[in-house]
């Protein structure tokens, strides 16, 4: 039998993701400073700190309510571009989890796909625009492929993680076209997109966390 993530498990993952983000402050800030306004890490970190504060509440909720609440917190605490994008992502994903008690392999893929769709809609952006989408999109594509091919979950998780990380890395060679960073046109080339990097931290942490439970 495959993995089954409860809302408590998901809350536990959030704690790990928060730590991962917290650790990489200087690096992410440097990325956003290079091409943008330098606030991405401090905002997303504040959002995750708030989530960690609320974990006692979150882990008692249904997945649906948990995701909605995460979305609300992210939207209002993170602020900026990423706040409203993550807010939309979690709201979108919540719908997928309506009445679900667990997130299994298929649901996990659906959650990420819903997040991707919400982000692309809200931000009016496409893959290749040097944003968080360039991490999430390949991860979702990969996840769908793995499921279509019937790969074992362990392998799937590791491939999705790799797709996310590679996707974030691929932003180094892209010109920025959306978000505040866009105003630098080709000045951004050579720098990773900070939003793609923090997205990859989350997917990486999530895949590792699930793997460790398998």
């Amino acid at each position: 039998m495959g993995f089954r993530l409860s809302s408590k498990d998901y809350a536990e993952y959030l704690r790990l993701a928060a730590a991962k983000i917290h650790e990489n402050g200087d690096y992410v800030t440097a990325l956003d400073s290079a091409t943008g306004d330098g606030d991405h890490w401090s905002n997303i970190n504040m959002g995750f700190e708030k989530i960690v504060e609320e974990i006692g509440e979150l882990e008692k909720m249904s997945l649906f309510d948990e995701f909605k609440k995460i979305g609300m917190i992210m939207m209002s605490v993170i602020g900026g571009s990423s706040g409203v994008l993550y807010g939309s992502a979690y709201m979108g994903a919540a719908k997928v989890l309506k009445d679900k008690e667990f997130i299994d392999n298929q649901a996990m893929c659906d959650v990420l796909a819903a997040m991707l769709e919400a982000i692309m809609t809200r931000g009016n952006a496409q893959p290749g625009f040097k944003t968080m989408i360039d991490c999430l999109h390949p991860a979702v594509m990969c996840y769908k492929d793995c499921i279509a091919q019937g790969l074992p979950e362990m392998e799937t998780l590791s491939l999705v993680k790799k797709a996310a990380v590679d996707g974030a890395m691929s932003t180094a060679n892209m010109e920025a076209v959306r978000g505040r960073a866009c105003y630098q046109a080709n000045k951004g080339v050579g720098h990773l997109d900070p939003g793609a990097v923090t997205m990859s931290y989350q997917i990486e942490t999530l895949m590792d966390y699930i793997s460790s439970s398998l």
Partner: protein, 328 residues
């Protein structure tokens, strides 16, 4: 990091609280970080906002003849939709609300979402987007120009129109007219430090300045050596004048400091700007010199021109009384 602050995470709420204490005519809504007018009247509401760190923008423009509410995000980060909705509610007296948005994707997304939600609650909301910064060109790869100090003129024009009793559509049209006639361009001589980050986002060399840098420290068009006031005026104005034909017209001029440039230097710069504009047959109708739209303690300046017609002149002269701008 040498700043007069307490906790870096609290700067926004403390600065707004400190502002509301200084100006008892302002109301501060905690947590949602909205500054609004205590005294309300039945008229179109004007709401502006954006990231903090641009003080006196945006809360400093709340008052008679300008904004009804200003919504603050974290430093350099758009406020979230819930905050903006509160701003809309505070500004709404039943005549509809105009949002003045600067063209940053975060602001566009958050204000856009708030607008949708407020409309669902039955409030009529319109919005305009300021894109006055000619530094970085509009291109297929960008969502357009940045909004900078020219936004203050949009607050003034829209605020005056609303105060004079115009309808939402008329107020929006006046704001759009202002936007169409406003161009700005800036330069920076030093970096600034986000309180939560604690160190500068970039470094400029001892003898280096950056032309066209954004008000969040976003890269501009060129790094170059130190320029005289005369050269600075020439460089910034030439970009502006190449973008819109101001020849023979009357303009409102704003010489804006980015935070740590002393007034002395802004006046010296104004002296040069006046010479250049006069030589080009452009008549300065009214001049504003000061720190109107800053970038924390960044040093540097921006120049804004707004081409005037009779209506814009009248609205520019319309009395206003806010902490950061008073027209008597």
């Amino acid at each position: 990091m040498k700043k007069i602050i307490n906790q870096p995470g609290n700067v926004v709420s403390e600065l707004l609280a400190g502002m509301a204490k200084a100006y008892p005519e302002l109301k501060y809504t905690e947590k949602l970080e909205v500054i609004s007018r205590k005294e309300k009247s039945k008229k179109v509401g004007i709401v502006s906002g954006g990231g903090s760190g641009h003080e006196p923008a945006h809360a400093g423009y709340v008052g008679k003849g300008m904004l009804d509410a200003a919504v603050a995000g974290n430093v350099f980060s758009s406020p979230s939709p819930d905050r903006i909705i509160k701003g809309i509610e505070e500004a709404n007296s039943g005549e509809g609300v105009l949002l003045i948005i600067k063209n940053y994707s975060g602001d566009i997304m958050n204000f856009g979402m708030a607008k949708d939600m407020a409309e669902m609650d039955g409030i009529r909301v319109e919005s305009v987007v300021v894109k006055d910064d000619v530094a970085v060109p509009d291109s297929t790869y960008s969502t357009g120009r940045r909004g900078i100090a020219g936004t203050v003129f949009v607050h003034k024009i829209a605020g005056a129109k609303a105060e004079s009793g115009a309808s939402l559509d008329e107020v929006k049209a006046a704001a759009e007219k202002a936007i169409a006639n406003i161009r700005s361009m800036g330069m920076a001589m030093s970096s600034c430090i986000l309180p939560a980050v604690g160190k500068p986002g970039f470094e400029l060399g001892e003898d280096e300045i950056e032309i066209g840098m954004g008000i969040h420290g976003e890269p501009g068009v060129e790094r170059t050596g130190i320029k005289t006031a005369a050269e600075t005026a020439e460089i910034l104005l030439s970009k502006i004048l190449a973008d819109l034909d101001y020849a023979g017209s009357e303009v409102a001029l704003m010489v804006n400091g980015l935070g740590s440039t002393p007034l002395m230097e802004l006046y010296i710069l104004n002296n040069e700007i006046e010479k250049l504009l006069t030589a080009k047959g452009i008549k300065i109708y009214k001049t504003f010199v000061g720190n109107y739209m800053t970038a924390l303690e960044m040093s540097g300046c921006s120049i804004t021109l707004m081409k005037l017609d009779e209506e814009l002149k009248e609205l520019l002269n319309y009395p206003c009384n806010t902490p950061a701008l008073k027209v008597i």
